[in-house]
């Protein structure tokens, strides 16, 4: 049985939305429409069904229109064209009264930023949906207690939202949606604001709850792993349009196009990442002003055994090891005599694949050089962490790396509001 049917649902923001829709029907792209008419396409002719009891995940990066799409389903945003049928009734054609009735009876929602009422206790927050329906105090208190219990927050009824951690606040958000007993749960990046461990717990608990409650869930996320873990079926969105719908298996086995493939292929990172993505800001000694004592101190401070020497223009002069630097101090000589040239260099766009054997054979960091100037260094650790944890590379980046364009990583969609 189909619970939600979305047909050609389109939202265009801007001065002339209707014109945007006709341009979309002509097959113009999002960018072309923005250029031509000044309209921004939020959602482009989305069509999909969600069956009763199904866990349906919509996955896309920020700006893909997924948050707009979920708000079109309960008409927090009015669509420009298309229809949304909830239990066969078109929500886009409803008057205010029946829209409110439908939201109360059928559509619970959980928000990325929890959106709890700060002036109400947990109990009163969970009761909110029932309270506005005019349900009497006793019944709504009971239902709210049940919902609070179901999400594991029993005992916190009289706390206020600000006293709770993010994970607990989102449990309240979930309880609020469960208390009204609506068949459909809309979850807008519900776990994206939580830290990874809590997020995993919440995912597990949601799946457990779903086994018991058998709701129809429409879940939005930018995290592919989350989508694969939770979704019975997954829709992948790009530029406002749905590019593929299928089960996790189907999407992984037969990606509809390169865009989807880029998400799901177990990408060999060593082919995708280049030197620039993993290099870090080098500690250097400037040959014209720093002497061997400065070099020794700097290496000691940083806990490194060799350091690159550059001139004032950042042109790479050579490498100085700690042994040579100490010798230079003892003999009171300048650095120039001790500079070594047996280090390896790489360009910014050298693929990691080529750097791995290099890193294995050299004892020194690899210098990333552009126009003879030192741009960064790569040590073995950064290659390994680049391979293993794509995220960490960009998180650990420092100034030098920030200028570099980070690689496209499907999990790095960022927060979308």
């Amino acid at each position: 049985m189909k619970k939600i049917e979305v047909r050609n649902l389109t939202k265009v923001f801007g001065p002339s939305p209707k014109k945007g829709v006709s341009l979309l029907k002509e097959g113009k792209s999002k960018d072309a429409i923005l250029k031509e008419s000044g309209n921004t396409v939020g959602v482009n002719q989305a069509t999909f069904d969600v069956n009763a009891g199904e866990f349906f995940v919509i996955m896309g990066l920020s700006g893909s229109g997924k948050s707009t799409l979920i708000r079109l389903v309960n008409r927090l945003i009015d669509p420009t064209s298309g229809s949304v049928l909830i239990d066969g009734e078109d929500i886009t054609k409803m008057n205010t009264k029946s829209l409110i009735e439908t939201r109360r009876a059928k559509l619970g929602m959980v928000f990325q930023r929890f959106a709890l009422l700060p002036h109400r206790t947990i109990q009163k927050n969970v009761e909110y949906g029932l309270e506005i329906q005019g349900i009497d105090t006793k019944e709504r208190e009971e239902k709210a207690k049940e919902a609070i219990h179901a999400v594991g927050l029993a005992g916190y009824e009289n706390s206020y939202p600000e006293e709770l951690s993010g994970g607990m606040q989102q449990r309240v958000g979930l309880a609020r949606a469960l208390a009204t007993d609506s068949d459909i749960l809309l979850m807008d990046e519900a776990f994206s604001a939580l830290d990874p461990l809590i997020r995993k717990d919440m995912q597990d608990e949601l799946l457990e709850l779903q086994d018991k409650l058998n709701k129809t869930i429409l879940f939005i996320t930018h995290d592919l792993d989350e989508a694969l873990k939770l979704g019975d079926r997954i829709a992948i969105m790009k530029d406002g349009a749905i590019v593929q719908i299928g089960t996790s298996e189907e999407i992984m086995r037969e990606p509809a196009n390169d865009y989807v493939a880029s998400f799901v292929q177990d990408v060999d990172r060593s082919k995708v990442l280049v030197a620039e993505n993993v290099m870090k800001k080098p500690d250097v000694v400037t040959s014209s002003k720093d002497g061997p004592r400065v070099a020794v101190r700097r290496m000691k401070e940083k806990g490194i055994s060799s350091i690159f020497v550059v001139d004032r223009g950042n042109v790479l002069k050579g490498l100085l090891t700690i042994e040579d630097a100490v010798k230079a101090v003892d003999l009171d000589l300048t650095l120039d005599k001790y500079l070594r040239q047996d280090y390896r260099i790489a360009k910014k766009d050298t693929p990691l694949e080529e750097l791995i054997p290099v890193a294995a054979e050299t004892n020194y960091p690899i210098a990333v050089v552009e126009n003879e100037r030192l741009r960064g260094i790569i040590v073995r650790v950064s290659i390994l962490s680049g391979l293993g944890l794509g995220k960490e590379v960009t998180n650990h980046s420092d100034k030098q790396l920030d200028e570099a364009t980070p690689i496209e990583d499907p999990k790095l969609g960022g927060d979308e509001t």
């Binding site: 309960n74 927090l76 619970g108 929602m109 959106a115 506005i132 329906q133």
Partner: protein, 276 residues
């Protein structure tokens, strides 16, 4: 620069004398009558309660909402009012302020809510408020006399004109500052716009609205001396007679009385903010 003569003065006088007063005179009389009886009633309550009892009430209230320090200050302040023999005048001033503030709240908060909900209302309301706040108060003292005569009623009206803007502005601001995601959540669960207002927006805007009410009271007090010029009784008229007779002492005695009332009212209304 006088390329042509703009007869604004004549127009205004003609408009007020030939149209406004004959046509709307009865209407203004009715309003004046209502405000007058409200004023008398409050004044009666404030004077019928013995000063000692009223002092105890105020001190207890101050203690409850704002703590020991404010309670002590209220006690000393009210003792001062009695000791300089200005208790009756102080109560007259208070009565005018209470009535004016009451009108400001009753009219200002709904307008503030309305302008928070509608951009076009806000576009109209904002310049009107600017006008009310910047127009020298002497300018509307004149029509206030014409329409309401001398005494407490025109004083209440002109105090109202001067003191209402912060109430409207801060109500508007408070409601607009309610986080968008909370409003969205309330909408998603099927709130009507009335439920949204009563259960979400007003409670969350309350601290800001209370700040507006506090400002309204402060501005109302600052009008006391000016209002005395159109015959408002109270501490303002003491200061005014101090000015006209170049009696520095009398001016100070009355002025300090106003300051005492201002501080007590300010601290108590600030203390009234909801705990959550």
């Amino acid at each position: 620069m006088n390329y042509f003569y703009l007869p604004l003065e004549e127009w205004t006088n003609d408009f007020v004398n030939d149209w406004l007063i004959p046509t709307l005179g009865p209407f203004f009389d009715a309003i004046g009558g209502m405000i007058g009886s409200l004023l008398e009633w409050i004044n009666w309550i404030l004077t019928v309660i013995p000063p000692e009892i009223l002092t105890i009430i105020v001190v207890a209230l101050a203690w409850y909402v704002a703590g020991k320090g404010v309670a002590l200050f209220s006690l000393i302040g009210l003792l001062y009012l009695g000791s300089v023999d200005l208790w009756a005048e102080g109560m007259q001033t208070l009565a005018i302020i209470f009535v004016a503030t009451f009108l400001s709240i009753v009219i200002g908060i709904p307008i503030g809510i309305w302008s928070a909900k509608s951009e076009s209302v806000q576009r109209i309301v904002r310049p009107v408020l600017d006008f009310m706040q910047t127009l020298p108060s002497f300018v509307y003292l004149i029509p206030a006399i014409l329409l309401f005569g001398l005494g407490g009623v025109p004083a209440v009206i002109s105090t109202f004109v001067f003191a209402t803007p912060p109430c409207v502005r801060l109500t508007n601001l408070g409601i607009r500052q309610v986080p968008g995601d909370v409003v969205e959540a309330a909408r998603a669960f099927g709130s009507t716009s009335g439920q949204m207002l009563v259960k979400v927006q007003l409670p969350l805007a309350l601290p800001t609205i209370m700040a507006g009410v506090n400002q309204t009271i402060m501005l109302a007090l600052s009008m006391a001396v000016i209002a005395a010029m159109i015959g408002a009784p109270g501490l303002g008229s003491i200061v005014l007679s101090g000015i006209s007779s170049v009696n520095v002492g009398l001016g100070l005695v009355g002025g300090l009385g106003i300051v005492v009332l201002a501080i007590i009212l300010d601290r108590i209304t600030q203390g009234l903010k909801p705990e959550r």
